[in-house]
Symmetry: C2
Subunit: 346 residues, 2 copies
């Protein structure tokens, strides 16, 4: 590592996640001189914001990739598959935010709050960042999984458009303005109009199982992070006209029955989780309340109303509602947490 701090490369620096990585690095006070912002040759040559300053965007060619301590790849799978091995070979630690390596048995798939200990032994050079929806769900469930075990998770998502990138965020704004002005929305990024519309996640639907690719990712990645190939996850992934935070409605069935206050205590003590659950004041997680923050907000915790409590006031099924910033904790924030672990334990 360089004496003045790690030299950090961000590939995909002009995209929604790449910009967020740079924003977090600038917030942390990471020196601008120790950041390399790279993008496709088409996007290279300009600048991207770095806090109140800016950094030049270079082309993500091999020449630009030398002398890097940590690389955060926020690009598509093809770019990740091409660049990650070269970066590792050149001595860098690499965090990939694409799905390229998420199911590769040689590459750990890590949510720091859940299975960060996979990186404790050191030696890992490439680590994969799960899908945003998976990260938010697993961070919220981890204290319950540790304390009581989890038998089944039914989850319906309320996903922001930011998961589909900056163009999708622009599309939501443009379409919304069009509708308010009495014009027809023009779908480009999404197959359906996104303004004032809730619609199933746009990823392809498997003709056999009926699951869309987002749902399949959620199942596969949760099983891998939990190291439990039989984990029972029943997901429905949906887009809503929200800019950058995902929300999820969850019914979790525990292995061991528990009292609601025991779940509350576990959630309140968990890293990365913030309980927002004021029944009297009507204050709960919302997409907007989560936007811009690093915590997964959890609230509306209650026993499923169809199961009577046992003699000690315990239940096995609980409902909860969570919200988290898709770009921060769901992508850029988790990736940088992984980068910290790689550099510290490296």
């Amino acid at each position: 590592m360089h004496p003045d701090g790690p030299r950090i490369l961000v590939v995909g620096a002009t995209g929604a996640v790449g910009r967020e990585v740079l924003a977090i690095l600038a917030e942390r006070g990471h020196p601008r001189g120790w950041v390399v912002a790279a993008a496709s040759e088409r996007s290279a040559g300009g600048e991207v914001p770095y806090g109140r300053e800016a950094v030049a965007v270079v082309a993500a060619t091999p020449a630009a990739l030398g002398g890097v301590d940590l690389a955060v790849l926020a690009a598509d799978t093809d770019v990740a598959r091409e660049l990650a091995p070269r970066l590792v070979e050149a001595g860098a630690r690499v965090v990939d935010n694409s799905s390229a390596f998420r199911l590769d048995p040689a590459v750990p798939l890590v949510v720091p709050e859940v299975n960060g200990d996979l990186l404790a032994a050191g030696g890992a050079r490439l680590v994969a960042n799960p899908n945003c929806t998976t990260i938010l769900l697993l961070v919220a469930l981890e204290p319950l999984r540790r304390a009581f075990g989890i038998d089944r998770v039914v989850v319906s998502t309320y996903q922001a458009v930011s998961g589909a990138g900056l163009a999708a965020m622009d599309e939501l704004a443009e379409q919304t303005r069009a509708v308010l002005d009495g014009r027809a929305p023009e779908p480009r990024v999404f197959p359906e109009p996104c303004a004032f519309n809730a619609f199933p996640h746009e990823s392809p639907v498997d003709p056999e199982t009926g699951l869309n690719e987002e749902e399949r990712k959620l199942i596969r990645e949760a099983r891998r992070v939990w190291d439990d190939p039989d984990a029972r996850i029943v997901p429905t992934c949906v887009r809503v006209p929200v800019l950058r935070a995902h929300a999820e409605s969850v019914v979790v069935t525990l292995r061991a029955p528990a009292r609601e206050d025991e779940l509350r205590d576990a959630l309140a003590a968990a890293p990365g989780v913030r309980l927002v659950d004021d029944r009297a004041g009507g204050r709960f997680p919302t997409s907007l309340r989560a936007a811009g923050g690093d915590d997964v907000l959890v609230g509306r915790l209650r026993p499923a109303p169809d199961e009577p409590l046992d003699g000690e006031g315990r239940a096995r099924s609980f409902c909860l509602w969570l919200a988290g910033d898709q770009l921060r904790k769901g992508a850029a924030g988790n990736a940088l947490q992984l980068g910290d672990l790689l550099l510290a334990r490296g």
Copy 2:
């Protein structure tokens, strides 16, 4: 009944549901002269649209309520409690869209496609219209309930703002414009900003159970319509920035195992339901696709991925996604279906 057709009174004619009742009557070609539009004294004196024409709005005083064959009450519970008995006494059939009589054992609570036979014997003078969320869910589930029985329903809703009235629809438009112009949204109808935000339903949360009032309505009303006081419903009710159609993500556990194609056949044949489930083409129910229509759109039907199919390809738990126009089938349309039944069987 009058020789030229029933004389229909709409109370709450200036509200979102009242306007929709008038729109449907006009579509049907019901003569304008046989409609009385009434509202609070504050709203009386103006006009409301009646197709391409308009009708005068009179004050909902007892004097205005005579000589009515059918009254549709789209007002609040206090108005309903005051007017319904008088209208019945004056000889009218009354459909109430408020929650005033929904749990009154003397008043049938009816979704025509589900328990319309309650009105078959005739003689009913007052009937209650369930909550919009309940109606849409029960219409979609009815073919499955009849064919296979239902053991448990887990449902997360994506509710349009129209359920909170015209002021809420205006608020969504105003707040959205404000956010796009860089101004802060000003919540008035809802406790949270509704523009670009998903937030738990705004009804009060019961301090004991943690359920909000919308969720309690859904449980109580479904049990009453199904005439099954132990029916297992696990709801989470959420608002999304959508104008007028609700969507719902449902996991239904059947009493008897069934094949997916058997469910499809049952849904395809069901009144009030339209299957929209094109996996290859990516075409499914959405809020916008349901808006303005009378059907409940159902799609994304698939077995829950955590339960292996039995030897005959059958499963007990299925996921599905539905969308329906909250103002039409969820309120005004169902109310007029009930009115038809009352007049035909009366």
